[in-house]
Amino acid sequence: MSVMEDENGMERKGVEMTAAQKKARRSRNVAIGLSLAALVALFYIITLVKFGPAILNRPM
C-alpha cells in the first residue's frame, strides 16, 4: 500500500500496479477484445449460413 496524490492534490491510499501487472492486464484486455470480435464474426457468419438471403425476406 502506498500514499499517492490524485490530480487535485488530495492524498489517496491505494495500490500502485507493477509493470508486470499492467502488462498482464493489457494482454488480458487484448484477449477479451479479440474474443468478442471473434464472437461477433462467428454469429454473423452463422446467421448468413443458416438463413442466407432469406433473413431479409420477411414482412416488416
Binding site: G14, A24, V49
Partner: protein
Amino acid sequence: MALIEETRFENAGLRVSEATPGDYLALLKPRVMSLVVFTAFVGMVTAHAPVNPVIAVFSILAIAVGAGASGALNMWYDADIDAVMSRTASRPVPSGRVAAREALAFGLVLSALSVMTLGLVANWLAASLLAFTIFFYAVVYTMWLKRWTPQNIVIGGAAGAFPPMIGWAAVAGDVSLYGIVQFLIIFLWTPPHFWALALFKSGDYQRAGVPMMPNVAGEASTKRQIFAYSIPVAAVAVVPTLIGAASLAYGLFAAALGAAFVWYAWKVLRMDEADRGMRAAKMLFAYSVFYLFAVFAALLADGIVGRAGGIW
C-alpha cells in the same frame, strides 16, 4: 476509458492479478481439448450426414469450448488436491496466478456460451449432450466420484467418451449404435489408461487423498484389473466392423492395435513388485495414448474412404 486506464485501487487489500491469457487457456486443458476435438470430428465424419462445413467447424469449436469449460470448473474445484500433486501443482489456480472464483466464473460463462452456441449452430440434442457432459465431468466426476470411490474414473470416464456422440448428433440430429460404439471405445479405454498412470504416480494420489485404485485396492489388484479391462478394450474397437459400420481393413487394423494393448497390459500384470521404475506401466500409459489416437484415426480414414466410395 477511465476504467481501462486506472492503475490504482482504493482497496489496498485487493489482489491485483498477473494472470495472462495463457493462464486462462491452460484452465481449458488444451491437451484434453485436442482429443475432444479429434474424436468429435471423427463422430461427425462417420455419421455420413450432409452438413455445411461452416456449421461443422463452429460445432466443433463449441464442443471444444464446452470441454474446456468443464476443465476450468474441474480446476476450480480441485485446486486443493492439484496443489499437492507434482503433475498438477503448477496449474493456474494452485499456483495462485488465477483466483479460484475467477476460474469458476470463467468455466460457468464458457459452459453457457458453448451449449447455447451449439444449440443455435447445430441442434438442441447435441447441445443437451454437451450440457450433460459438462455436468457429468464437473459435478458427477469432480465433485462426487473423484474423492469418494476408486471407481471414479470408471464411471467418470463417460464424460470423456461423449464427444464422438456429440459430434455425431451435431450433424445427424440423432444418436446411433455406431455413435454408442465410439463412446464405448473411449469409455472402456479410460480405466486402464488412468490406472497405468496411477501405478507410477500413486504417491501423488496418496498425498492428495484421492482414492485411486493402486492406493485403495493395492498394486496387484490394479494390475489384474488393468489386464481384465484390456480385453474388452481390444474387443470393442473391432465392433464397428462387426456391425457393418466400418470396413474389414479397419477391423484388422483395430484388432492388431488391440492385441498390442493386451500385450502391454500383460507386461504390467507380470511386472515385478520390486520394480519401482514401473517401466511396463509407463509403456502401457504411453501406448494407450497412441492406441486411442490410432483407433480414431483409422475410423476417420475409414469413414472418409467409405464416404467417398459410398461403400459403407
